[in-house]
Protein backbone atom coordinates (compact mmCIF):
# COMPACT_ATOMS: atom_id res chain seq x y z
CA UNK A 1 0.00 0.00 0.00
CA UNK A 2 0.96 3.65 -0.17
CA UNK A 3 2.38 4.84 3.13
CA UNK A 4 1.88 8.43 4.21
CA UNK A 5 2.39 10.56 7.31
CA UNK A 6 0.45 13.61 8.37
CA UNK A 7 2.21 16.92 7.91
CA UNK A 8 2.93 19.11 10.95
CA UNK A 9 -0.23 20.91 12.06
CA UNK A 10 1.25 24.36 11.59
CA UNK A 11 2.15 23.62 7.98
CA UNK A 12 -1.47 22.69 7.33
CA UNK A 13 -2.77 25.72 9.25
CA UNK A 14 -0.61 27.95 7.07
CA UNK A 15 -2.14 26.43 3.93
CA UNK A 16 -5.68 27.27 5.08
CA UNK A 17 -4.89 30.55 6.84
CA UNK A 18 -7.28 32.51 4.60
CA UNK A 19 -9.99 29.86 4.40
CA UNK A 20 -13.41 30.36 5.97
CA UNK A 21 -14.85 26.94 5.25
CA UNK A 22 -12.61 23.89 5.14
CA UNK A 23 -13.49 20.36 4.08
CA UNK A 24 -11.09 17.85 5.66
CA UNK A 25 -11.36 14.92 3.29
CA UNK A 26 -10.14 11.45 4.16
CA UNK A 27 -9.71 8.38 2.00
CA UNK A 28 -10.70 4.81 2.89
CA UNK A 29 -7.86 3.38 0.80
CA UNK A 30 -4.20 2.97 1.76
CA UNK A 31 -4.07 5.97 4.09
CA UNK A 32 -6.78 4.46 6.25
CA UNK A 33 -4.79 1.25 6.62
CA UNK A 34 -1.58 3.10 7.51
CA UNK A 35 -3.51 5.38 9.91
CA UNK A 36 -2.57 8.59 8.14
CA UNK A 37 -5.77 9.79 6.49
CA UNK A 38 -8.82 7.70 7.31
CA UNK A 39 -11.97 8.72 9.19
CA UNK A 40 -10.25 8.71 12.56
CA UNK A 41 -7.43 10.93 11.35
CA UNK A 42 -9.94 13.26 9.68
CA UNK A 43 -11.65 13.71 13.04
CA UNK A 44 -8.33 14.54 14.69
CA UNK A 45 -7.12 16.95 12.01
CA UNK A 46 -10.47 18.74 11.84
CA UNK A 47 -10.29 19.26 15.58
CA UNK A 48 -6.69 20.52 15.38
CA UNK A 49 -7.59 22.97 12.60
CA UNK A 50 -10.52 24.31 14.63
CA UNK A 51 -8.35 24.67 17.75
CA UNK A 52 -5.40 26.16 15.86
CA UNK A 53 -7.52 28.70 14.01
CA UNK A 54 -9.37 29.62 17.18
CA UNK A 55 -6.09 30.23 18.96
CA UNK A 56 -5.15 32.57 16.12
CA UNK A 57 -8.45 34.37 16.59
CA UNK A 58 -9.82 33.24 13.23
CA UNK A 59 -13.27 31.99 12.44
CA UNK A 60 -13.49 28.84 10.37
CA UNK A 61 -16.09 26.17 9.69
CA UNK A 62 -14.60 22.74 9.34
CA UNK A 63 -16.55 19.97 7.67
CA UNK A 64 -15.41 16.36 7.85
CA UNK A 65 -15.80 13.74 5.15
CA UNK A 66 -14.20 10.59 3.84
CA UNK A 67 -14.44 9.10 0.36
CA UNK A 68 -14.21 5.44 -0.62
CA UNK A 69 -11.13 6.44 -2.61
CA UNK A 70 -9.70 9.66 -3.93
CA UNK A 71 -7.87 8.00 -6.82
CA UNK A 72 -10.95 7.23 -8.87
CA UNK A 73 -12.99 9.83 -10.70
CA UNK A 74 -16.33 8.19 -9.89
CA UNK A 75 -15.63 8.61 -6.17
CA UNK A 76 -14.35 12.17 -6.55
CA UNK A 77 -17.86 13.08 -7.75
CA UNK A 78 -19.07 12.37 -4.20
CA UNK A 79 -17.44 15.65 -3.13
CA UNK A 80 -20.57 17.33 -4.49
CA UNK A 81 -22.46 16.31 -1.33
CA UNK A 82 -20.55 19.09 0.50
CA UNK A 83 -21.20 21.69 -2.21
CA UNK A 84 -21.31 25.19 -0.73
CA UNK A 85 -19.91 24.00 2.59
CA UNK A 86 -16.25 24.59 1.80
CA UNK A 87 -13.94 27.00 0.06
CA UNK A 88 -10.87 24.81 0.51
CA UNK A 89 -10.27 21.08 0.68
CA UNK A 90 -7.57 19.60 2.87
CA UNK A 91 -7.05 16.14 1.45
CA UNK A 92 -5.73 13.42 3.70
CA UNK A 93 -5.28 11.06 0.77
CA UNK A 94 -1.91 10.35 -0.80
CA UNK A 95 -0.62 12.67 -3.51
CA UNK A 96 -2.68 10.80 -6.08
CA UNK A 97 -5.88 11.90 -4.39
CA UNK A 98 -4.79 15.54 -4.21
CA UNK A 99 -3.89 15.44 -7.91
CA UNK A 100 -7.20 13.83 -8.82
CA UNK A 101 -9.18 16.53 -7.03
CA UNK A 102 -7.04 19.20 -8.69
CA UNK A 103 -7.54 17.53 -12.09
CA UNK A 104 -11.29 17.12 -11.75
CA UNK A 105 -12.15 20.30 -9.82
CA UNK A 106 -10.30 23.02 -11.77
CA UNK A 107 -11.44 25.91 -9.57
CA UNK A 108 -11.29 24.20 -6.18
CA UNK A 109 -8.44 24.93 -3.78
CA UNK A 110 -7.01 21.64 -2.55
CA UNK A 111 -4.13 21.16 -0.11
CA UNK A 112 -2.21 18.06 0.99
CA UNK A 113 -2.45 17.09 4.66
CA UNK A 114 0.00 14.21 4.39
CA UNK A 115 3.42 13.54 3.01
CA UNK A 116 3.20 10.56 0.68
CA UNK A 117 6.21 8.50 1.64
CA UNK A 118 6.58 5.14 -0.08
CA UNK A 119 5.09 1.78 -1.08
CA UNK A 120 5.35 -0.45 1.93
CA UNK A 121 3.82 -2.88 4.32
CA UNK A 122 3.07 -3.10 8.02
CA UNK A 123 6.14 -4.76 9.56
CA UNK A 124 4.72 -4.46 13.05
CA UNK A 125 1.92 -2.53 14.72
CA UNK A 126 2.65 1.12 13.99
CA UNK A 127 5.70 0.32 11.87
CA UNK A 128 5.76 0.43 8.08
CA UNK A 129 8.70 -0.38 5.85
CA UNK A 130 9.43 0.29 2.20
CA UNK A 131 9.26 -2.82 0.05
CA UNK A 132 8.64 -1.67 -3.53
CA UNK A 133 9.72 1.30 -5.60
CA UNK A 134 7.15 0.95 -8.38
CA UNK A 135 9.99 0.93 -10.91
CA UNK A 136 7.90 -0.62 -13.65
CA UNK A 137 10.21 -3.54 -14.49
CA UNK A 138 10.03 -6.07 -11.69
CA UNK A 139 13.09 -8.25 -11.04
CA UNK A 140 11.80 -10.06 -7.96
CA UNK A 141 11.87 -13.42 -9.80
CA UNK A 142 15.66 -13.02 -10.02
CA UNK A 143 16.24 -11.89 -6.45
CA UNK A 144 14.30 -14.36 -4.37
CA UNK A 145 11.35 -12.00 -3.99
CA UNK A 146 13.35 -9.29 -2.24
CA UNK A 147 13.63 -5.95 -4.02
CA UNK A 148 17.07 -4.40 -4.55
CA UNK A 149 15.57 -1.31 -6.19
CA UNK A 150 13.55 -0.32 -3.11
CA UNK A 151 15.59 -1.90 -0.34
CA UNK A 152 19.19 -1.29 -1.42
CA UNK A 153 20.28 2.27 -0.62
CA UNK A 154 22.04 2.39 -4.00
CA UNK A 155 19.41 0.38 -5.90
CA UNK A 156 22.24 -1.86 -7.05
CA UNK A 157 21.32 -4.59 -9.48
CA UNK A 158 24.50 -6.51 -8.69
CA UNK A 159 25.22 -6.62 -4.99
CA UNK A 160 26.22 -6.53 -2.29
CA UNK A 161 28.58 -3.57 -2.42
CA UNK A 162 31.64 -3.05 -0.22
CA UNK A 163 29.53 -1.19 2.32
CA UNK A 164 27.76 -4.33 3.47
CA UNK A 165 29.10 -5.29 6.89
CA UNK A 166 27.71 -8.17 8.94
CA UNK A 167 24.52 -8.07 6.92
CA UNK A 168 24.01 -4.37 7.57
CA UNK A 169 24.11 -1.38 5.22
CA UNK A 170 26.81 1.25 5.51
CA UNK A 171 24.27 4.08 5.42
CA UNK A 172 22.72 2.95 8.70
CA UNK A 173 23.48 -0.07 10.82
CA UNK A 174 19.76 -0.52 11.49
CA UNK A 175 19.18 -1.15 7.79
CA UNK A 176 19.59 -4.71 6.62
CA UNK A 177 21.67 -5.22 3.48
CA UNK A 178 19.05 -6.54 1.07
CA UNK A 179 21.74 -8.15 -1.06
CA UNK A 180 22.85 -10.18 1.94
CA UNK A 181 19.21 -11.16 2.44
CA UNK A 182 18.92 -12.05 -1.25
CA UNK A 183 22.09 -14.16 -1.06
CA UNK A 184 20.89 -16.01 2.03
CA UNK A 185 17.40 -16.57 0.69
CA UNK A 186 18.53 -17.80 -2.71
CA UNK A 187 20.62 -20.34 -0.83
CA UNK A 188 17.63 -21.50 1.19
CA UNK A 189 15.55 -22.02 -1.95
CA UNK A 190 18.30 -23.85 -3.82
CA UNK A 191 18.87 -21.09 -6.32
CA UNK A 192 22.17 -19.65 -5.14
CA UNK A 193 23.64 -19.91 -8.62
CA UNK A 194 21.39 -17.01 -9.59
CA UNK A 195 23.90 -14.81 -7.73
CA UNK A 196 26.43 -15.61 -10.46
CA UNK A 197 24.30 -14.03 -13.15
CA UNK A 198 25.43 -10.49 -13.90
CA UNK A 199 22.46 -8.20 -14.29
CA UNK A 200 22.76 -6.02 -17.41
CA UNK A 201 22.78 -2.23 -17.30
CA UNK A 202 19.24 -1.28 -16.47
CA UNK A 203 16.89 0.79 -18.59
CA UNK A 204 15.27 3.12 -16.05
CA UNK A 205 12.69 4.64 -18.39
CA UNK A 206 9.99 2.44 -16.87
CA UNK A 207 10.81 3.89 -13.45
CA UNK A 208 9.57 7.35 -14.41
CA UNK A 209 12.78 8.62 -15.94
CA UNK A 210 10.93 8.88 -19.22
CA UNK A 211 8.29 11.24 -17.80
CA UNK A 212 4.92 10.53 -16.13
CA UNK A 213 3.83 6.97 -16.64
CA UNK A 214 0.54 5.68 -17.92
CA UNK A 215 -1.01 2.24 -17.90
CA UNK A 216 -3.50 1.34 -20.58
CA UNK A 217 -5.59 -1.82 -20.69
CA UNK A 218 -7.22 -2.01 -24.08
CA UNK A 219 -9.63 -4.72 -22.94
CA UNK A 220 -11.01 -2.43 -20.29
CA UNK A 221 -11.38 0.76 -22.35
CA UNK A 222 -14.47 1.49 -24.39
Amino acid sequence: MIIAERKPVNEILDMVKDAKKVLVLGCRGCVTVCSAGGEREVEILASLIRLGMKKQGKKVKVVEGTLVRQCDREYIDAIDQWKGKYDSIVSMACGVGVNFIANLRPTTKVYPAVNTSFFGGSADQGVWTEQCAGCGDCVLHLTGGLCPVARCAKSLMNGPCGGSVDGRCEINSEVECVWQLIHDRLGRIDNQEAMNTIAPIRDWRSAGHGGPRKALRDDLTI
Partner: protein, 140 residues
Protein backbone atom coordinates in the same frame (compact mmCIF):
# COMPACT_ATOMS: atom_id res chain seq x y z
CA UNK B 1 -9.91 38.00 38.73
CA UNK B 2 -10.75 34.56 40.09
CA UNK B 3 -10.53 31.69 37.68
CA UNK B 4 -12.11 28.28 38.10
CA UNK B 5 -10.78 25.99 35.43
CA UNK B 6 -12.90 23.58 33.45
CA UNK B 7 -11.11 20.27 33.89
CA UNK B 8 -12.22 17.12 32.13
CA UNK B 9 -11.00 13.91 33.70
CA UNK B 10 -11.25 10.73 31.65
CA UNK B 11 -10.85 7.52 33.59
CA UNK B 12 -11.25 3.83 33.07
CA UNK B 13 -14.03 1.83 34.67
CA UNK B 14 -11.66 0.11 37.08
CA UNK B 15 -9.69 3.04 38.46
CA UNK B 16 -12.85 5.11 38.94
CA UNK B 17 -15.15 2.39 40.26
CA UNK B 18 -14.92 3.24 43.94
CA UNK B 19 -14.73 6.96 43.23
CA UNK B 20 -18.06 6.82 41.41
CA UNK B 21 -19.54 4.81 44.30
CA UNK B 22 -18.65 7.59 46.71
CA UNK B 23 -21.27 9.81 45.11
CA UNK B 24 -21.09 13.55 44.66
CA UNK B 25 -21.31 14.41 48.35
CA UNK B 26 -18.83 11.76 49.35
CA UNK B 27 -16.32 12.98 46.84
CA UNK B 28 -16.78 16.54 47.98
CA UNK B 29 -15.95 15.46 51.51
CA UNK B 30 -12.88 13.65 50.21
CA UNK B 31 -11.66 16.92 48.72
CA UNK B 32 -12.45 16.25 45.06
CA UNK B 33 -12.62 19.64 43.26
CA UNK B 34 -16.14 20.20 41.95
CA UNK B 35 -14.87 21.69 38.71
CA UNK B 36 -13.25 18.38 37.74
CA UNK B 37 -15.75 16.51 35.60
CA UNK B 38 -15.43 12.75 35.38
CA UNK B 39 -15.84 11.02 32.02
CA UNK B 40 -15.84 7.28 32.57
CA UNK B 41 -14.72 4.87 29.88
CA UNK B 42 -14.90 1.09 29.86
CA UNK B 43 -11.11 0.94 29.50
CA UNK B 44 -8.15 3.17 28.64
CA UNK B 45 -8.00 1.34 25.34
CA UNK B 46 -11.28 3.03 24.41
CA UNK B 47 -9.80 6.51 24.69
CA UNK B 48 -9.33 8.32 21.39
CA UNK B 49 -7.13 11.31 20.62
CA UNK B 50 -10.25 13.01 19.32
CA UNK B 51 -11.97 12.58 22.73
CA UNK B 52 -9.24 14.66 24.35
CA UNK B 53 -9.17 17.26 21.58
CA UNK B 54 -12.96 17.51 21.64
CA UNK B 55 -12.78 18.27 25.35
CA UNK B 56 -10.55 21.25 24.56
CA UNK B 57 -12.90 22.28 21.75
CA UNK B 58 -15.77 22.17 24.23
CA UNK B 59 -13.99 24.57 26.57
CA UNK B 60 -11.74 22.53 28.80
CA UNK B 61 -8.75 24.30 30.32
CA UNK B 62 -7.13 21.00 31.28
CA UNK B 63 -7.70 17.37 30.40
CA UNK B 64 -6.32 14.22 31.95
CA UNK B 65 -6.68 10.47 31.96
CA UNK B 66 -6.51 8.12 34.91
CA UNK B 67 -5.76 4.52 34.07
CA UNK B 68 -4.41 1.36 35.63
CA UNK B 69 -0.68 0.89 36.18
CA UNK B 70 1.00 0.27 32.80
CA UNK B 71 1.51 -3.44 33.42
CA UNK B 72 -1.69 -4.07 35.38
CA UNK B 73 -4.44 -3.09 32.97
CA UNK B 74 -7.49 -5.32 33.38
CA UNK B 75 -7.63 -5.57 29.59
CA UNK B 76 -3.86 -6.02 29.26
CA UNK B 77 -2.78 -2.98 27.27
CA UNK B 78 -5.53 -0.39 27.54
CA UNK B 79 -3.63 1.79 29.94
CA UNK B 80 -0.56 1.81 27.71
CA UNK B 81 -2.71 2.75 24.73
CA UNK B 82 -4.28 5.61 26.67
CA UNK B 83 -0.83 6.91 27.63
CA UNK B 84 0.13 6.97 23.94
CA UNK B 85 -3.00 8.96 23.09
CA UNK B 86 -2.28 11.45 25.85
CA UNK B 87 1.30 11.79 24.58
CA UNK B 88 0.00 12.47 21.06
CA UNK B 89 -2.22 15.26 22.35
CA UNK B 90 0.69 16.69 24.34
CA UNK B 91 2.69 16.81 21.12
CA UNK B 92 -0.19 18.51 19.32
CA UNK B 93 -0.40 21.15 22.06
CA UNK B 94 3.34 21.79 21.71
CA UNK B 95 2.90 22.20 17.96
CA UNK B 96 0.11 24.71 18.57
CA UNK B 97 2.21 26.58 21.15
CA UNK B 98 -0.10 25.69 24.03
CA UNK B 99 1.25 24.51 27.40
CA UNK B 100 1.58 20.69 27.18
CA UNK B 101 0.98 20.48 30.93
CA UNK B 102 -2.70 21.04 30.18
CA UNK B 103 -2.98 17.36 29.37
CA UNK B 104 -1.72 14.61 31.67
CA UNK B 105 -1.72 10.86 32.20
CA UNK B 106 -1.97 9.28 35.64
CA UNK B 107 -1.45 5.60 36.35
CA UNK B 108 -2.81 4.23 39.62
CA UNK B 109 -4.13 1.14 41.29
CA UNK B 110 -7.77 0.19 40.89
CA UNK B 111 -10.38 1.11 43.41
CA UNK B 112 -10.76 4.24 45.46
CA UNK B 113 -7.49 5.70 46.52
CA UNK B 114 -6.58 9.11 47.88
CA UNK B 115 -4.36 9.25 44.80
CA UNK B 116 -7.43 9.58 42.57
CA UNK B 117 -8.49 12.71 44.42
CA UNK B 118 -4.89 13.87 44.65
CA UNK B 119 -4.57 13.72 40.86
CA UNK B 120 -7.66 15.90 40.51
CA UNK B 121 -6.29 18.33 43.07
CA UNK B 122 -2.93 18.44 41.32
CA UNK B 123 -4.52 19.18 37.96
CA UNK B 124 -6.81 21.77 39.50
CA UNK B 125 -3.83 23.54 41.08
CA UNK B 126 -1.75 23.29 37.92
CA UNK B 127 -4.42 24.52 35.52
CA UNK B 128 -5.52 27.30 37.87
CA UNK B 129 -1.92 28.54 37.84
CA UNK B 130 -1.72 28.31 34.05
CA UNK B 131 -4.94 30.28 33.60
CA UNK B 132 -7.58 29.94 30.87
CA UNK B 133 -6.69 27.75 27.91
CA UNK B 134 -5.53 29.74 24.86
CA UNK B 135 -8.10 27.82 22.80
CA UNK B 136 -10.86 29.67 24.62
CA UNK B 137 -10.88 32.65 22.32
CA UNK B 138 -13.92 34.72 21.41
CA UNK B 139 -14.01 33.64 17.82
CA UNK B 140 -15.94 30.41 17.95
Amino acid sequence: MSFTPNIQAFCCHYTSQQTIAEGKEGLKQDGMPENVILNRLVCGGKLQISDLLKAFEDGADGVYFVGCPPDECHNVKGSLRAAKKVAAVRQALIELSVEPERVEMFHMERGFHPEFVAAAQEMNKRITALGPCPFKGDSK
